[in-house]
Symmetry: none
Subunit: 215 residues, 2 copies
DNA sequence: GATCCGTCGGGAATATCTCCCTGTCACAAG
DNA sequence: CTTGTGACAGGGAGATATTCCCGACGGATC
């Protein structure tokens, strides 16, 4: 008989881990052999148990998910990590893959996808949630690099973007940058159009989600 | 033989719901009789199935968790709702209880707590996660309002605040909450005045700084 | 009953946004 | 040298949005 796929779960929410454990354990050839709730803990536990696959959330207390991935991979480049995150923004996907993850799925995917992803990662393949893979492909085709849409902004546009996102009024931005009110108003419209948002509040949200502001 | 406790799950992530379903179904006297992923859907489903307990996430697409709670309770004041949120900030707890929730636990609690909470809520009691209950008591004792200025907002104002901060336009907020455009516009002005900000982007910033949004 | 307060919106003046357009400058390709 | 191209800066006009002031209603509270 073939041996089971061993899996380690990393998520800071115990209830969530328990749910996944049940989901995965319902599959005969998968066995959850360890759980961690912090990045540091995960590194240690991986070194000790060497599971086939690590299923990891990105928003971890402490060093965070990305740093955890890098740390684990720096000690064992064959480590297979599947990111299982709440975020579906491409920038997260790109960063996770850059860090060394083998797969990425979101928590809004169907339960079967999780099981499938674990199996594929274990067999050495990579796995992206289909909808994300498609968007990633679209974006890669559309632009040169991992374009966060923010990268499509010119320098001046980005200046305006930052201040608006911070909560400056159009008039305040104009003063700050020594521009005419109309100029800033026009930039504002242009930026929203480029970013595909309707309000400045949504711009702020983009800024936070891309980690442009600390907190 | 005593009949089972019927439970309805409301969470926008299918995988997460699946996990909870397994967790709860593992307990003999609990039965999950329905699932919804949006607030509107939850209201309808509750009206149709009348489960003993609703287990609900707060961050739902559309009208959001708080408005959902209020809507359900406005049609059936005996509805028993257990909020199961990722947020542990007290402001969420207070808001949820004000809206009519009977209990509040976070996703970082132990799995047994979920089962216990459901049982307690079903029996008519209320239930707060111990750690939260303690912090709530501390704050209340502390006397000095740990007023984030956000606490000066009324329930309705907070609804509008949340959506505006999320990036909704005035018109979209009006639709979501079924209010007149003018009403929302007036609320918007009032809220900005109460919070001492000039733009909706600054509202968004406040929201992020108070940990109201996940990212 | 009188008085707040929260909720919901109308009206009118004002501010802002959007869309289209002009013009300059720098820089690169033909 | 000429011809793009694209960032940069703003004007004009009309559409939208915001502000401020107001009335109305239902609940509390005193």
């Amino acid at each position: 008989m073939k041996s089971k796929i061993t899996v380690m779960l990393v998520d800071d929410h115990a209830v969530v881990r328990a749910g996944y454990r049940l989901l995965l354990s319902g599959t005969p050839n998968i066995e959850v052999v360890g759980e961690a709730e912090r990045g540091e803990e995960a590194c240690q536990l991986y070194a000790d148990t060497r599971p086939d696959v690590i299923v990891m959330d990105l928003s971890l207390p402490g060093i965070g998910g990305l740093a955890s991935i890098r740390r684990i991979r720096s000690r064992d480049t064959s480590a297979r990590i599947l990111v299982f995150s709440i975020h579906d923004e491409l920038i997260y996907v790109v960063r996770a893959l850059e860090a060394g993850a083998r797969g990425y799925i979101t928590k809004s995917c169907a339960p079967e996808i999780l099981v499938e992803a674990v199996a594929r990662i274990a067999s050495g393949e990579s796995f992206l949630e289909p909808e994300i893979a498609q968007r990633l492909a679209m974006q890669t085709l559309g632009g040169a690099e991992a374009t966060t849409a923010l990268n499509t902004l010119s320098a001046r546009e980005f200046d305006v973007f930052l201040l608006l996102a911070k909560g400056y009024t159009t008039r305040e931005v104009a003063e700050e940058l020594r521009l005419g009110y109309k100029t800033v108003a026009n930039y504002s419209t242009l930026i929203k159009s480029k970013l595909g948002v309707n309000t400045t509040a949504e711009m702020a949200r983009l800024a936070y989600q891309n980690g442009i502001f600390k907190t």
